[in-house]
Symmetry: C2
Subunit: 405 residues, 2 copies
């Protein structure tokens, strides 16, 4: 840990902004600071000029993580990774991530654009909000950040230099454990609704499923395809009707593209399952579920259209231009995305970090119905990913396994 | 380049050994030094004590590569990578690589065991020598170096730390160009027997083949499975009847395991094809070819036996223990090895760096027959790798495409 490191107080946050970002606020501005993070991994200060309403966020990494009451040390290097990833993503997909104003390695602190007028996407999904531009924005974010950081675009030397800069062992380990391991056996960290124990045990006893999850885990650990966000669930996306911001890329590293696409699909499908319990009215439920699946389709199709265009414009390598290579690449990407989506869904039902979409359903009997749907969809996405040829195959599977009316 | 760097002379090599490895030779020893490298990439000094015959090798990287008359700058960092890889390999597979006595980052120089009583394997193969312990030694080298540097054995943190240390962009670029790109289109660097132009053009026009090579290239560039040697042809192996030393791991990086296994198989199969021209007597040819294919089978089967034993003993991860995962892993490895072997064969016929096995066949008409065999075997190994279920499928393919008597 750099010796200058210490967690800031709200007052120090104001002083910090005045001294380190002198032009941001008028020098005589009256600044207010409030810590608005959940305090588990990071401190998040919102600093506001009362007179103008102008504001910014200071995000400071804490040297430990606090989960289920336990505390374990966690590298501050993730603040560097997050700030560097935000800068790269901001250049590649302008407007779709918060702007970075300043990064301070000693304090593991990033000053960035305040998006407090946005809400966390997951909350919007629980409330059955619709975001007409969300699919288009995420298609743009995914296509551009994945394409331009891959071997399809970068020189091999530049790509490998980035692989090195984004080696991120501690954050990857969290995913390796919580997404790809613990949910598939009786691990201490698991935590699930007792009413679905039989379904969970069926997963633990499904050798085919565990083998396929192992294959996906191996891919997560060995396949350095692009600089991925690494944690692209709907809690890492902030939205308004017209705007979308992807936040918190502290899990960024060079990994399989399908992991980002799959994370996003998984969270749309988790929402799909959750409305089994969240939404009593059959008509409303059906209509919102249709919107969710159409959004998933629009994300993939929009991604594909952009990815193809980028390929046409930028791919120079003789070998990447071999006939049929691109189609095979994209098909593999769809199938990877399905598989990773499946893991992401199952882990949210069985594992350590549940999602509010399901967690807030009462009573537990109703929650269990939605959770079983999520587990079935997740398991089938993993097992049958090799059969997926287009996004419609995936949304059909969700409808079929998710008890569509 | 470190400012202290300069290429040593033979005399300086002696002085260097006296001052930096003071215990190695008696202080009054009469030392002789001779530069025995080919001078294209490295200087190689053999330093001998005339009285006792005791000797060592100083290998010094040059800051450029000289190939086909041209010169391009090349990182001295490869000397660090080579010395670190040799140390790791020496710990994992004792006796199968030269011992490292000393590494000097300023001079990009490694002092190591002298293996001058061994000959380069390729020369032995051209002379139809048989090496009864070669397969066993290479099986041991491959199984232990690949297994113990992979996620199957290392902690995720340690593995990622090694990935970082062995990022090797410049050497990988050479492989990306010369093995996976240039041979498959009309690139300036190519150089082949004019008599096989039609066969080479057929490869350039084979879209399926180019697509599959692109897939293998992508795997080489993205799949960080284990610390591989990266250049494991029979010119990187020194042998006696009883001993085997793998040398020159300056291409080491975290890549697909199958690339090492495939490189070795490819060079046995290139030898197989070469004896079409090297060996006039049908009986001798047949008998030696049988030995070559049996050796390929013994390498794989010996590898498999050891790899399985290591898996039984050391794999602790719940997910790697999922039923069927290991079989799928090993099957993929066999198929990867076949594909990489195919690329390695074709590039030696079409590309920049020919092999003496084929190059020394006269007249060109006879050489062309052997070269066509090598191309056919290589192309089919790439195209049909997905059909390979056991090593016998691969050696059958070689026999079939290689015009076995």
């Amino acid at each position: 840990m750099p010796s200058a490191y210490h967690p800031l107080t709200e007052e120090e946050a104001v002083q910090y902004v005045r001294s380190k970002l002198p032009g941001f606020f008028p020098s005589d501005a009256q600044l207010f600071s409030r810590e608005i993070g959940d305090g588990n991994l990071n401190l998040v200060f919102r600093v506001v000029d009362a007179a103008t309403g102008r504001s910014l966020i200071l995000k400071q990494a804490l040297p430990y993580a606090r989960v289920v009451g336990e505390s374990w040390p966690l590298t501050l290097d993730r603040a560097r990774i997050e700030s560097e990833a935000l800068k790269i993503q901001g250049e590649l997909a302008p407007g779709l991530v918060p702007r970075v104003y300043h990064y301070d390695p000693d304090l593991a602190l990033t000053a960035m654009e305040d998006c407090s007028d946005h809400i966390i996407m997951r909350k919007g999904l629980i409330a059955r909000k619709r975001y007409p531009r969300f699919a288009e924005h995420m298609a743009e974010f995914l296509a551009r950040t994945l394409f331009f950081t891959s071997d399809l675009y970068l020189s091999p030397e530049e790509k490998k230099a980035r692989v090195r800069r984004f080696i991120n062992p501690e954050m990857c380990k969290i995913t390796e454990d919580l997404v790809f391991s613990h949910p598939y056996y009786d691990a201490d960290t698991n935590s699930f609704n007792p009413l679905i124990r039989e379904d969970v045990e069926a997963i633990w006893n499904d050798g085919d499923l565990r083998r396929e999850v192992a294959n996906l885990k191996e891919s997560f650990m060995t396949c350095g395809q692009a600089l991925i966000h690494g944690d692209l669930h709907t809690g890492s996306i902030m939205v308004t009707e017209q705007d979308t911001k992807v936040i918190d890329p502290e899990f960024s590293y060079y990994g399989p593209m399908g992991f980002d696409i799959g994370a996003l699909l998984a969270n749309l499908f988790l929402s799909y399952a959750s409305h089994e319990g969240q939404t009593a009215d059959p008509g409303e439920r059906k209509s919102y579920r249709q919107w969710l699946l159409r959004t998933a389709e629009d994300v993939w199709n929009g991604f594909l259209e952009r990815f193809n265009r980028l390929w046409d414009e930028h791919v120079k390598d003789e070998m990447w231009s071999a006939p049929g290579y691109r189609d095979a690449y994209i098909l593999r990407l769809l199938q990877d995305s399905a598989g990773f989506a499946g893991c992401k869904m199952m882990r949210r039902v069985i594992g350590l970090a549940p999602v509010a979409d399901l967690e807030t359903i009462e009573p537990p009997e109703v929650r269990a119905v939605a959770e079983r749907q999520a587990l079935r969809i997740g398991a089938q996405l993993v097992l049958r990913r090799g059969e997926m040829r287009r996004i419609g195959d995936i949304t059909d599977l969700v409808r079929r396994e998710g008890g569509a009316e």
